[in-house]
Amino acid sequence: MADTQIAEDQSSAETSTSKIVTLRIAKSNPEKDSVTKFESFQVSYERWTTVLDAILDVKKHLDHSVAVRYSCRQATCGSCGMKINGRPRLACFTKISELDSDVVTVEPMSNYPIVRDLVVDLEKMFDTHKEMKPFMVREDTEITPNSRELLQTPEQVEEYIQFANCIKCGLCNSACPTMATDSSFLGPQALAQAYRYVADSRDKGKNERLKIIDDSHGIWRCHFAGSCSQVCPKGVDPAMGIQMLRGYLLGFRK
């Protein structure tokens, strides 16, 4: 089938529409020393070229050593969170053309330890997520041969589905002002997941979870700054989940 050529990995496809942008990549290796150097590269891009495409283009052809985390390249796996022109975003979900800038600066997300270059350590976020008991709490979670589905209307699904969209990219924790100084704060990612399960009509673990988050570095350290929701790439709106959850603790909701 040599007659039908495929233009692979968009970045290598040269057409007249391509433009040039300066990509500045923050490089550091904390195991060696604590300096961060910015290296600049000229990369050509198309209308649809994403920042991740551009970084991988650099990795392939200009500097093999760039450390960057990626997998799905379609904004569903949550690997590629980084600070792009000062704001936490997914690299694979940010087109260069929409940044409207001749210079694109990429840095590791704030509020997480840096592993190397653009890669940060998210283990703590995963641990906090686990603390929220992010699973069905009820007696009969294991089915028997006679089990059928637990009925749930489309409206009941609406109650929690937006929070179930979280891809654990960690952008929200990186934008939150409390996170910027409080290393014990649970963070919007975990709190929104606590709400995801509380809001599920099948779950019975509300009181347990409310107890866990009602802590001196728990839900009360959110001040509804909303930055988490501003940067969330999946429309999870953690700020809403957190306030809803707090509604229970304040007695506004039952």
């Binding site: 100084t181 409080d182 704060f185 603790l249 304040l250």
Partner: protein, 115 residues
């Protein structure tokens, strides 16, 4: 104390304060001109009017609790660590108590005419 109770107090004191501070300020600007209301004699008279004095005492307590808890929250978020957090908690509680005591002294003594 559970954090939720502390924060309920925080909101409660704020709500109480909204009403009382409004009365306090209105008192200052509606009774007579603002400048006059601050004349020594007028102020002392205010204090001697017992319901007003009680209200002032209430404002004092509510806002001290609210304000120092607010400060505590900010300080807790700035830095972490067991001893630091303990210091913040007790420090704020103590400051709160001192402020209330100091303010109460003024109110009590003035209203009893000990000026």
């Amino acid at each position: 104390m559970r954090e939720s109770i502390i924060m309920k107090i925080h909101y409660g004191t704020a709500l109480g304060a909204v009403v009382l501070v409004a009365v306090h300020i209105l008192y200052r600007i509606t009774m007579m001109s603002f400048g006059d209301s601050l004349e020594y004699e007028n102020v002392v008279a205010n204090y001697k009017f017992i319901p007003y004095a009680i209200m002032l005492e209430l404002i004092l307590v509510l806002l001290s609790v609210h304000g120092f808890n607010g400060l505590r929250v900010i300080l807790l978020e700035l830095k972490q660590g067991k001893s630091y957090e303990k210091a913040v908690n007790y420090g704020c509680l103590a400051s709160m108590a001192i402020l209330i005591a100091y303010g109460s002294r003024t109110i009590l003594m003035t209203s009893m005419g000990m000026t």
